[in-house]
């Protein structure tokens, strides 16, 4: 249920994103999801990849500031009200969301979330019939 997200600190200068993706590409690591949080000075690239530990070592050796963060991935039907239902569960259980990013395609939508308490989030969401992706399903 817990998914290892790779986070990379990037200065806002050209070529950095290209360096990261090149390294992953050369080592056959696939990216399932990504998001970039940016400030005026730097950005944080968050990636869900196949073999996150390998990617972590790889980028670290290339001199990037990287970290692995525990996140969860909600699988919710791609229809109105479903995201609300899931988030309400977290809110009523006192779990806060640090950040999230999502994509919806065909039947279901996937929402990746960094939450304050991962295990509590998993427990309460599962109890409330919110489906969560397994690491093996998303990191490929």
């Amino acid at each position: 249920m817990i998914i290892k997200q790779l986070s990379v600190f990037l200065e806002n200068k050209s070529g950095r994103l290209s360096d990261v993706t090149e390294a992953l590409s050369e080592n056959g690591i696939n990216i399932s999801a990504l998001s970039v949080a940016d400030t005026s000075e730097y950005g944080i690239l968050r990636l869900i990849v196949g073999r996150p530990e390998k990617a972590y070592e790889l980028l670290k050796n290339l001199g990037f500031s990287v970290s692995l963060t525990d996140v969860i991935c909600l699988i919710i039907p791609n229809e109105s009200g479903t995201l609300y239902k899931a988030i309400k569960v977290l809110a009523s259980n006192g779990v806060s969301i640090e950040y999230m990013y999502a994509y919806a395609m065909n039947g279901d939508a996937s929402v990746i979330m960094k939450v304050s308490e991962v295990n509590k989030a998993i427990e309460t969401l599962t109890e409330n019939d919110v489906e969560l992706a397994k690491a093996s399903e998303i990191c490929n």
Binding site: L10, A37, E41, Y42, I44, R46, S65, S67
Partner: protein, 433 residues
């Protein structure tokens, strides 16, 4: 206008005699009253009797800023504290400021040299001088203040900052002279333009600018924007404060009050005097000061001395406008900043590496300091909030150490250029040379 024609236009041989006599008195005073100097002289095998005049000056030991710090606060004073009537201190950017003291006679000499400086710059009793240098421990404000009162000018002691009020008073009080840092003068000019103040309604004619290095181009800009004559004044607290030297109307070097301060120029590496007309590090020996007499103080400012008689009639030596420093000290908005101070702040933080780069620039005529810091991999967080808090923390720590605003920028580890030899820590884009 010459304040003290008898001295300022004195025959140089006569001046040398006065300097020699006063130098001998000073050496005697420090030998018997300041353990630091006695020890230094004994180490060199020197006794007061070995100094017979100015020709023996180079036998004397040097004094550095570090010596003042090591003797913090009052250990270099040559008189009992009961005779000290005033103290000033440098910004104290690294923990310990350099403290200087004055006896009543010292304050009177200081007013005298500032009075000469003001007359030299064309300021007299009919002027109204707005003093926008900071008042307080910094020598700028009070230093100019007493000299201005001595020449009989009308003093407007507004101190630094508060631009709107500066402009209002300048108009209402009909100030004829503004004394401040050159960068603040340009800032005032811009504010004037923004607020639609009609220059022709002002009586301003002269500016007395110092406390930071500035170029001839900057002078031209100030002169055209403010429509005044921009005069360079030089001084440092260790020697006295503002008024050690000042430009005359010919604006071709700053006349040094040599009957109070003997200047030399040395090679910063060999410590030998440089040839006449060559650039060297400016060194001062004070020869009238009672509270804090100082032998061969290494200013670290680079200049050239010109002993030719000036067209203004003064015979006092002229120092060229300072263009650089022989150490890595930066002067940011009048505040002395050493890269090592920033380094020590960073070293105390576990989240950063001691790799940094200082980017100094002059934006809208104000100095800016940006500090690039490498974030430690171990501290790297995927949350922006945490990185922003780190930025805030570093900014706060550095600001409270330096006393000036800085901008901190986090950069990736190992992206700041490493060098084999002396690290390049500073990128100065102010283009002052």
């Amino acid at each position: 206008m010459i304040w003290n024609e008898h001295i300022e236009c004195m025959n140089r041989d006569e001046l040398r005699e006065i300097q020699s006599k006063r130098l001998c008195e000073t050496v005697e005073r420090v030998y018997y009253n300041v353990p630091f100097y006695r020890k230094k002289m004994q180490e060199l095998g020197l006794e007061p009797g070995d100094i017979k005049g100015i020709q023996d000056l180079s036998k004397l030991p040097f004094t550095t800023k570090q010596d003042l710090r090591d003797n913090y606060p009052f250990n270099l004073f040559a008189v009992p504290m009961s005779d000290i009537v005033r103290v000033h201190a440098s910004s104290g950017t690294t923990g310990k400021p350099t403290v200087v003291g004055y006896t009543r006679r010292d304050l009177s000499s200081w007013s005298e040299v500032v009075a000469r400086s003001l007359h030299c710059a064309g300021v007299g009793k009919n002027d109204r001088i707005q003093i926008a240098y900071g008042y307080g421990l910094f020598t700028g404000g009070l230093g100019i203040h007493y000299g201005a009162e001595k020449v009989g000018a009308t003093v407007i002691p507004i101190s630094g900052g508060n631009t709107k009020k500066q402009l209002n008073l300048m108009k209402d009080f009909e100030s004829t002279v503004i004394a401040c840092t050159p960068s603040y003068a340009l800032y005032l000019a811009e504010a004037m333009e923004e607020q639609g103040i009609d220059r022709s309604k002002l009586k301003l004619k002269t500016g007395i600018f110092g406390a930071e290095p500035w170029t001839d181009n900057m002078r031209k800009e100030i002169e055209s924007k403010l429509d005044i004559k921009a005069m360079d004044i030089y001084g440092l607290s260790e020697v006295m404060g503002p008024g050690v030297a000042c430009e005359c109307s010919y604006q071709n070097g700053l006349h040094i009050s040599e009957d109070h301060f003997i200047p030399e120029t040395i090679d910063s590496t060999t410590l030998k005097n440089v040839d006449k007309g060559s650039e060297g590090e400016l060194v001062f020996t004070t020869i009238t000061k009672e509270a804090l007499p100082i032998l061969r103080y290494r200013t670290r400012d680079l200049t050239v001395l010109n002993y030719d008689k000036c067209e203004c009639g003064r015979t006092m030596v002229r120092m060229q406008k300072c263009r650089g420093r022989s150490d890595d000290m930066l002067i940011i908005r009048g505040v002395n900043v050493f890269p090592s101070q920033i380094e020590s702040v960073l070293l105390e933080m576990s989240e950063t590496k001691p790799h940094y780069l200082l980017i100094v620039d002059r934006k809208n005529n104000l100095d800016t300091l940006e500090i690039w810091v490498e974030v430690h991999e171990a501290f790297f967080s995927d949350e922006i909030r945490k990185l922003e808090n780190l930025t805030k923390k570093i900014t706060h720590e550095i600001q409270s150490t330096l006393g000036i605003n800085v901008k901190v920028k986090l950069v990736e580890p190992k992206t700041i250029e490493r060098s084999e030899g002396k690290a390049k820590r500073i990128v100065d884009r102010r283009n002052l040379v």
